[in-house]
Each structure stands twice: as C-alpha cells, then as structure tokens.
C-alpha cells in the first residue's frame, strides 16, 4: 500500500460508533468493572515512577523478606526490594509488551485478512493455510522456542508474541471482509472504477474496524498472560527487570516463609487479565453480539 492511500485513510471520519459505544459501556456492569480494572493498572503502570519512592531494583539486604507493613504494603523480597514498587513496574513492563505485541499481531493479521478476504482464490488459500499452520502449532512452545533461541529481550517479546497472534486476527478480518465486500456500496464504488487499494483501505477497512478494536482488547489479556508465562519460565523479562511472571517464579522457594512474594504479583496479574477479558467481552457484546470468540490457546 502506498503513502497516498494511507493519507486518504487518515482523512476518514472517525468511527461513528465510538462515543455511543463508550456511553453504553458505562451501563454495562461487567464491562465497567473491566474498564475500571484496566484503568487502575494503566494508571499504576504509567505513574509508577511518581507513585513510588524507591527504585524498583535497589538492593537493601537489611530489609530482606519483611512481612507486609505500612511502609511496604506487599512486603519486601529476598533482596529487600519493595514488592509493591516492583508490582507497579511490572505493570509497566506487561502493558508495554501487551500493547506492542498486539499492535504487531493486528497489523499483520489485518493486512493479510484484508488481502485474503478481498482477493479470494489462490491468495486466500495460501494465507489461510498459513494461518492453519500457525494455529496448529502449539503457541506457547513456539514462543518458548523463539525466546530461547534469539535470547530474551523486550524486542523479541514484542515480535514473538505478536507474530504468534496474527492468525486469529486474520481469520476474523477475512470473515468480516467477506460479508462487507458483497454489500451494494462496494459494488457501486468498484463499478465506478475505483482501484483496489482505495476500495480496500477507504471502504472496506473502516467497516471492519469495530471487530478489530474488540479483538485488540480481548487479545491484550492473552498477550499479558503469554508475557508473564514466558517470564515465569525465565524466558521473558531478565533480572533485575520487574515482571509479574518472574516475581512469582522467584517467590516459589520462599512460599513457606514469605508467601507474599508470589501471591501479590499473582493477584495483580489475575485482576489485570480479568479486566481486559471483561472489557473485551463487553465491547464485543456492545458492538456486535454475533461476533465469535477468537480461538483459544
């Protein structure tokens, strides 16, 4: 797609359903709970440097393994680091990985889904076959393999989680395109002689945008889950970076003496994923109840 069509896409009116969707979300009880949870986590993650007094990685052996107290609400870990501070920085890390990897999955999935749905035929067969292979591949294992080989880093987390997630998006987008492209206005535009890129970007894409937004939110929870699973196995965030998964893993040896090391980040991970799931479900209900669930891992 060239720059010219991208510019025309930018001139499009905003998605008209957005404001009313937001208002309806407020009256959707579980959706509101989800939005609140997500809001809190985003707030804590973004504001972490302002809300905490200490560096998340500063070691203070004199205060190691302290039980939760007023100055350390979630206690301290084996190096005397404040667990609450690290949980907040963990939110930053997880959100960053979640959003970046979802963006990658969405871009790849949308482009391929649009192409497959619009052109059909051989293009479609190849793209969907590739999606089948990706989905048949055990997702977590693929992630583990990639991370073990390229070495754990922020970028490899973004890319590997993103690339593994493209197939579900592509399937959804293709299915949507198939229904949209049969509508009369598309026929009308095409018969006026509009070139394919214009038809796809200006006329089809805006009409499949809502499900894309929904799947973005639903996938965020899964991406964060994938990130913390990898970090739990030691293949995600590397020490001393604070990440929920690695905090839980490091706490296992201290379960008898300092259970808060694993329990606190675990509760936060659960609430975060819960928030994104509730929000995603609500957005799906509100935008189009017929939308299917994305494939589960």
């Amino acid at each position: 797609m060239n720059v010219g069509t991208a510019a025309t896409a930018a001139e499009l009116p905003r998605v008209r359903t957005a404001p009313s969707l937001w208002r309806r979300l407020v009256s959707h009880r579980s959706g509101l709970v989800g939005a609140l949870l997500v809001g809190i986590v985003v707030f804590l993650g973004v504001m972490a440097p302002l809300l905490t007094r200490s560096d998340p990685n500063v070691i203070d052996m004199d205060n190691a393994l302290q039980a939760p107290s007023v100055s350390h609400p979630f206690g301290t870990d084996m190096f005397g680091r404040d667990v609450a501070t690290r949980v907040m920085y963990g939110a930053r890390f997880s959100l960053e990985v979640g959003v970046m990897s979802r963006v990658i999955a969405l871009v790849i999935g949308t482009v391929l889904g649009l192409l497959a749905g619009f052109y059909g035929g051989r293009t479609e067969r190849w793209i969907m076959r590739l999606a089948d292979v990706t989905l048949a591949y055990p997702g977590l294992l693929l992630l583990i393999a990639v991370m073990a080989a390229v070495g754990p880093s922020r970028l490899s987390l973004f890319v590997s989680i993103g690339v593994v997630g493209w197939a579900g998006v592509a399937r959804l987008v293709r299915a949507q395109v198939l229904t949209v492209k049969e509508r009369e206005f598309i026929l009308a535009i095409r018969s006026l002689g509009a070139p394919d890129p214009i038809v796809i970007v200006r006329h089809i894409l805006p009409n499949v945008l809502t499900p894309i937004i929904v799947i973005f939110s639903m996938g965020l929870g899964a991406s964060i889950m994938a990130e913390s699973s990898l970090s739990f196995l030691g293949l995600g965030a590397q020490p001393p970076t604070a990440s929920w998964g690695s905090m839980i893993a490091n706490g296992i040896d201290y379960l008898r003496v300092a259970p808060w090391l694993s329990l606190a980040p675990g509760i936060v991970v659960t609430l975060t994923v819960l928030g994104f799931n509730l929000l995603g479900d609500a957005l799906r209900d509100l935008s189009d109840p017929r939308l299917g669930r994305p494939a589960r891992k």
């Binding site: 591949y137 055990p138 977590l140 694993s262 609430l271 589960r296």
Partner: protein, 311 residues
C-alpha cells in the same frame, strides 16, 4: 463418515508438513550451536568438527531438509543430541504421563464445570449464580502457573496434605494438584458454556412442555436441557484436550511432572534439535487428531450435524 475422516486425515499431511518445515527452518535460522551445548566450550576444534560432520550440520540447507523429510517419512525422529536416546522412544515414554494428566484434568473440568454450570442455570439471577459465574470469569483470567503456586502454597506448604511436586511412581496423591491446575481454565470455561447453553435450551418449547408436565426444575435442566446443550460443551472440552497435550508445559514444569511438555521445554532450552522437532510434530498431530475426534463425536451427539462439505 469414514470418507470424511479420511479426507480430513489426508489434509493433515500438508499441515504437518508445514509445521515440520516451520520447525526446521526456525531451528536453522536461529542462532546457537547444538554441538557446543552438547560438549561444552572446552573441547578442541577437531572434536567439534567431527561431531558436526557426523550430525550432518555442515551440509547445505536443502540437503539437510531432504534428509530430515526422508527420516520423517520413515517415522524416524532421530536421536537426542543430549541423551543419545531415540526421540521416538522418549516420546513414547513421556506421552502416557501427559495423557494421564490430561485425562484427569479433563474429567475434573467436565464434572466440576458442568455441575457449576447447571447449578448456576438453575439458580439463575441469584447471588449464588453471580458468585459461580464471577468465580469462573476470574478462573479464566488466572495464569495457570499462578494457580499451581497457590495450590502448592495452600495444600502443601500450609496444610501439608498433598505432595508439592514429582510423579511419585504414579500414586494418585501426586496427580491431584497438577490435574486441578491444568483443568482450571477449562473448568471455568465449561461452567460458563454449560450455563449459557442450558439457559438457551430452557427457553425452547420442548422444555416448556416438560415443565408444563410438572417435571422438577433440576430434573428438567439435567435430563432435557443439558442433553441438548452438550454440543458446545464437547467442542470446548475437545479443543482444550488438544491444547493440554502441549499446554501442559507450564503445569508440568511447576510440578516436575515427567511428561511431554517438560520434555519439550528441556529440549528447547538445551537446543536439542531432534527432540524439539519430534515432540512439536507429535503434539501438532495429536492436537489435530483430537480435533477430528471431536468433530466426529459432534455428528454422533447431534444428528443434525452433517459432516463433509468444506473440510
């Protein structure tokens, strides 16, 4: 039916070929030297070179790929670089353990999930319903590994009731915590699906008739509504069962369970190429077979389902 199954199995070949190729290329492209992880860095160059030649690591890519495919066609998954044991033998040893864990987890998910779902549907709209459904939503959102840690904390560290990890020569006590952990997401999901499909069915006329006949509500839900709600439940359980075979990586790691998941994880961490290729391929095949079984089961449970058409 048979024709349909054969057609589907025929389609496995290109997909498996795809998975095999992706695995092969991935391991070829990615950095890291299996020989170094085999012998350590202190061996002299000649030994390393010898091994490389022996393992055909220096052959050009197409040649290696051709050799790989021809071995696969003979059902030869190669020999582990690390242990020297044929990969197929290791898989045969490990797979039953994973299978056992998966069956236990699936049983828990079906029994517990359907019970919760029917109870919630029966008491729909009550605080009890909200509690059960709320609990299942939280359950879906809970990372597997964290639930495992939580269970170890409560039942092992605190109460001292169950062993925290290991296989224990197959004793049942060792199976409980891993199976519970693995079943968690499916239990929650089955509960949600059961509740909503039972409620869907409860609105149908035949259920109304049964109710008008004076059948008690629990009997009505279980005997009539649940029976027809089985279809979506089977789908969920089937998909999950397939993913257990690979998704047990985390559970098996936490509980030191000697199954396929941990085998694969170890292989990946040690760059044991034949072991990785073999186990990934095995899991993908198992996953597709289970999916096929589910589809066939579908047609059995619901005669309205016609197999065939687009495979």
């Amino acid at each position: 039916m048979l024709q349909y199954a054969l057609k589907r199995i025929f389609w496995f070949i290109p997909i498996l070929l795809g998975v095999a190729t992706v695995t092969f290329l991935l391991l070829y492209v990615l950095p890291g030297d299996p020989v170094l992880s085999m012998v350590g860095e202190r061996y002299d160059a000649a030994t390393i070179q010898n091994l490389r030649t022996q393992m055909h690591l220096d052959d050009p890519l197409p040649k290696r790929y051709a050799r790989y495919l021809s071995d696969l066609a003979h059902l030869d998954f190669g020999t582990s670089y690390i242990t020297g044991v044929p990969v197929w033998k290791s898989i045969q040893e490990r797979a039953p353990h994973t299978f056992r864990l998966a069956v236990a987890a699936m049983t828990i998910a079906v029994v517990l999930g359907m019970t919760i779902g029917v109870l919630a549907a029966w008491k729909r709209g009550s605080p009890f319903d909200y509690l059960l459904i709320g609990g299942s939503v939280v359950g879906v959102s809970m990372p597997v590994f964290w639930l495992g840690v939580l269970l170890i904390y409560v039942f092992s560290a605190r109460l001292g009731l169950l062993p925290a990890s290991g296989f224990g020569d197959g004793r049942l006590a060792y199976l409980v915590l891993p199976a519970l952990t693995l079943s968690q997401a499916s239990t929650a999901y089955v509960a949600r699906i059961t509740r909503s499909s039972v409620l869907d069915e409860a609105g149908e006329n035949y259920v109304k008739v049964a109710r008008a006949k004076g059948l008690s509500e629990p009997r009505l839900l279980v005997r009539h509504a649940l029976r027809n709600a089985l279809l979506p439940i089977i789908t969920v359980v089937g998909i999950d069962f397939g993913s257990y075979l690979s998704g047990a990586v985390l559970t098996e790691s936490i509980f030191a369970w000697p199954g396929l998941g941990r085998f694969t994880l170890d292989a990946i961490l040690k760059r044991d190429l034949p072991a990785i290729q073999g186990s990934v391929l095995f899991m993908a095949a198992a996953f597709m077979l289970v999916n096929l079984a589910v589809d066939i089961l579908y047609a059995r449970v619901d005669p309205r389902v016609k197999l065939g058409g687009a495979a």
